[in-house]
Amino acid sequence: METYFSLKPLIAVLVSLLSALAIMLSGRRPNIRELWTILGSITMFGVVFSMLPDVLSGKYPEIILFNVSPGIPLSLRVDAAGIIFGLSASLLWIITSIYSIGYMRGLCEKKQTSYYTCFALCLSATMGIAFAANLLTFVIFYEILTVATYPLVIHKETPEAIQAGRKYLAYLLTGEVALIVAIALTYQLTGTMDFIPGGFLGDIAGQYHLLGLFALFLIGFGMKSAVIPLHSWLPTAMIAPTPVSALLHAVAVVKAGVFGFVRVIGFVFGPTLFHDIGAGNLLAIMASITILVSSVLAMCQDNLKRRLAYSTVGHLSYILLGIALLSPAAWLGGLLHIVNHAAMKITLFFCAGAIYAKTHCEKVSELGGIGKQMPITMGAFALASIGLVGMPPINGFISKWFLGQGTLEAEQGVYLIILLLSSLLNAGYLFPIVRRAFFVQSNNRTKYAEASAFLLVPLVFTALLSLFLGLVPDGIFHFYHLAGDVARGVLSGGGR
């Protein structure tokens, strides 16, 4: 692993911190405030994107700052795994910023300054998570992300929202204290915290000891990645404004949990040890249960955003399943699904938000004939739904294909059945919405009336992005290449 000193990782983290500050100070002038958001997001994406060529050629930008604890520096390193997460989050932040402007202004939401400030803070923390080079740095940003998201969850300030906020904190803070014990234990066992592809946690303790350690990590990251039975905060948190649900509760926050699993399994435990202590099977089984149960639960939801939230729960576990299987194709599929699911799910949330902004409908049962009124929105919705079900040519097919291949590589065919079954279930909760939108007649929805361009352009863009990534998986961002790099780096030692 070749690294070189660069300020860029730090800039990527700081740029949105600074824009948060600027947003806070220009609260009285909304246009300038929004300008800061857009500027911040574009700069962040630019900085992250500019590191891509180096990362692709195997040279990782790195910056080691001051020590946060004796012997453990706050250090950032942009490796292939980190840039996958960082690129997708920062790209989608630009889109979400534009969408936010349309959404928040359209609905005349209050406290917009604090909304944009917290949003920028969240992205800063997300970049920190993506580029953290050791466990302590990771956890520090991880906790900041949790707290910075809280004001967004309770943005509506209704008793219901406050209740949701409490639930959110109860779950996630509990996860984080488990995490702190876990990293302290790791540090005590090994004396190091630096992420190393293939892991650094050798055969230094008994199987049950290590399994206990993994259980702590599982609680810690499982909360954010909403593994059943730790998932129930996520549907509740859908009370937040739709852009928050879109970017944070489908991309940044929940994927931070999944990314934590990537780091811990690939870069702390290492695949061999992870498999040997039996944690691989444990995680794979939990992920499978989550995939199936959440899909069934999703079908029972009439509230559109809640249905999408349960769908997110399921798709996060796709990624976990891929990681747990420890075969190259499964890792490739899992990592690609981080990006692919992000693009598809954000589209769906954008659509839900556009519908809400235009018609104030939140329930699936109220959507009869909406396709006639908002054909572009629902077209994008249909496209992303097809992708989530896993049909070509949308990007969801790509990741599912590799995941399926991974199950066979790992000689665990049973999980292939689960994947296929889940596709059917996905179709079962997504397609009825599309059908109802286009094929159910409704008298009051006959004329064309799309939401404003601020809402429409982002959702069309993300839908096209899903299509693009489905047709050219390695285009522009080279996600395919990057995911392959990660899988090779992690599994070359003890892949199976």
Partner: protein
């Protein structure tokens, strides 16, 4: 420069006298004199800390009498660290106190300031002295001054303090008896000297009793569970600026004495291996953290909630001491520093709210977030730090304590430490919700509230900023100052 150890308490003692003398002539002189006295002591402490870091421990022999006969003042890493904390927090809260006293207790400023200086002289004296009996003298000075300043408060304050007087005196008696036994057994009162003689006497019952008495005495002084009942009332009814001074540092000095006994009098081997003293302290602290945190959750009076929270936090420190391993001790010492900043900030915020609105019931705080923006911003920082959210310093005390628990393979303690941060979250987020999420009732004082005058706001903001800065530079503090102390374990 050689006199640094003694300048720290003496300047405070002298100015206590001058403040009273000149203050009775001209009342307006009391505040500047106090400030100068504390500033002198603060500068001396900082210089002392630098010298310790550069040249190692600084000794001063009072009157030129060499120990073990004479009284010795010592600045080593631990005492210099503590002296800086105490004098810095004192300096900040004296600045803060001016406006607050003018409103709450206008007629009693002169005695208040001279008593506060006396109190601080006692506390810093405890910290720098290297003599067991001299420590008792300073303990009494600080306690008597503390009883007096705290009794100048609400109508209920004298009654609350009366209980403290009784308990505090019992605590001091325990300590004195313990010291008496040590003197009886060793013939010496100098800490370093006693530490050399004691190992040969570890079998003696006299020493067992002495150790137990000293620990009980200090447990009473630092309000360690279950000897904590005196504290909440006292913290609730005394003037807010007095509590903003006392709450962050006074109980911590009790913890300091405990650490001092552990590492430089009885030596760790005795208190943790021969007698299970540290283990008992650890378990009491663990129970105390849970019990007092739950009590804090059930309070509606903001000051009382903070008082119970202080109890939980002092138990945090005691838990670190109880672990008796380097990481645990580092966590305990760092938490003394962190908590001084956090609790100082929180009590000053509470005082500022009282100054502007006269309120202290949490349900009445609705809507304060928009009226007292900066104050509540500082409160948010302090609250998040108490919960243990990085980069605020509270996270790092938790981190070192968890490392200590893991090192000791004590999973119960580890669970308690992290559970405590969840309980903190419950009672602090409850206030945050109220302050930011609930619209104000139109008939309360909140409607017309605003940030307090600059003289109160600046100290609050300095402490809030300090919380973040301490979090960022904690590794420096730990490696430079605390690791040398902890390495004696």
């Amino acid at each position: 420069m050689d006199q640094l150890p003694v300048i720290i308490p003496i300047s405070l003692l002298l100015f206590a006298f001058f403040t009273f003398l000149l203050g009775t002539v001209r009342r307006s002189l009391a505040y500047p004199l106090t400030l100068v006295g504390v500033a002198t002591s603060l500068i001396a402490s900082c210089l002392g800390l630098f010298r310790v870091l550069q040249y190692g421990a600084q000794h001063y022999y009072l009157g030129g009498w060499t120990p073990p006969l004479g009284i010795e003042y010592v600045l080593d890493h631990l005492s210099a660290f503590m002296a800086v904390i105490v004098t810095f927090i004192a300096f900040i809260s004296i600045i803060y106190s001016r406006r607050s006293f003018l409103q709450e207790v206008p007629g009693k400023i002169v005695p208040l300031y001279s008593l506060m200086l006396l109190l601080l002289a006692g506390l810093t004296g405890i910290i720098v002295t290297g003599d067991l009996f001299n420590l008792y003298v300073f303990l009494e000075i600080s306690s008597l001054a503390a009883y007096a300043v705290m009794a100048i408060g609400d109508d209920k304050a004298p009654i609350a303090v009366f209980r403290y007087v009784i308990i505090g005196t019992i605590g001091a008696c325990f300590y004195l008896l313990g010291v008496g036994f040590i003197y009886f057994a060793t013939g010496s009162l100098n800490m370093a000297d006693v530490a050399q003689i004691l190992p040969s006497l570890y079998g003696s019952r006299l020493i067992v009793v002495a150790a137990v008495f000293i620990v009980i005495g200090m447990a009473l002084k630092m309000a360690l569970f279950p000897l904590h009942m005196w504290l909440p009332d006292v913290y609730t009814y005394s003037p807010s600026a007095v509590i903003a001074l006392i709450a962050p540092i006074m109980t911590k000095v009790g913890a300091y004495v405990l650490i001092r006994m552990l590492i430089s009098v009885f030596l760790p081997n005795y208190l943790s291996n021969v007698l299970p003293v540290t283990l008992i302290i650890g378990w009491l602290a663990a129970i105390g953290i849970i019990v007092t945190s739950i009590m804090a959750i059930s309070q509606t009076d903001f000051r009382r909630m903070l008082a119970y929270s202080s109890l939980a936090q002092i138990s945090y420190v005691a838990l670190g001491i109880g672990l008796a391993n380097p990481m645990g001790l580092i966590g305990a010492m760092l938490h003394i520093l962190n908590h001084a900043f956090m609790k100082g900030c929180l009590f000053e915020v509470s005082g500022a709210i009282r100054y502007r609105t006269g309120l202290w019931q949490i349900p009445q705080f609705a809507g304060l977030g928009r009226k007292m923006r900066w104050t509540m911003g500082a409160f948010t920082v302090a609250a998040l730090s108490m919960v243990g959210i990085p980069p605020a310093c509270g996270f790092f005390s938790k981190w070192y304590l968890v490392l200590g628990c893991v090192d000791a393979s004590n999973w119960v303690f580890a669970a308690v430490v992290v559970a405590s941060s969840l309980l903190n979250a419950v009672y602090f987020f409850r206030v945050l919700e109220k302050v930011y999420m609930t619209p104000p009732d139109t008939d309360t004082a909140v409607v017309e509230a605003s940030d307090p005058p600059v003289g109160m706001l600046i100290p609050i903001l300095i402490l809030a900023g300090g919380i973040i800065i301490l979090g960022i530079v904690n590794a420096v503090i730990v490696t430079q100052i605390l690791e040398p102390v902890a390495s004696t374990l």
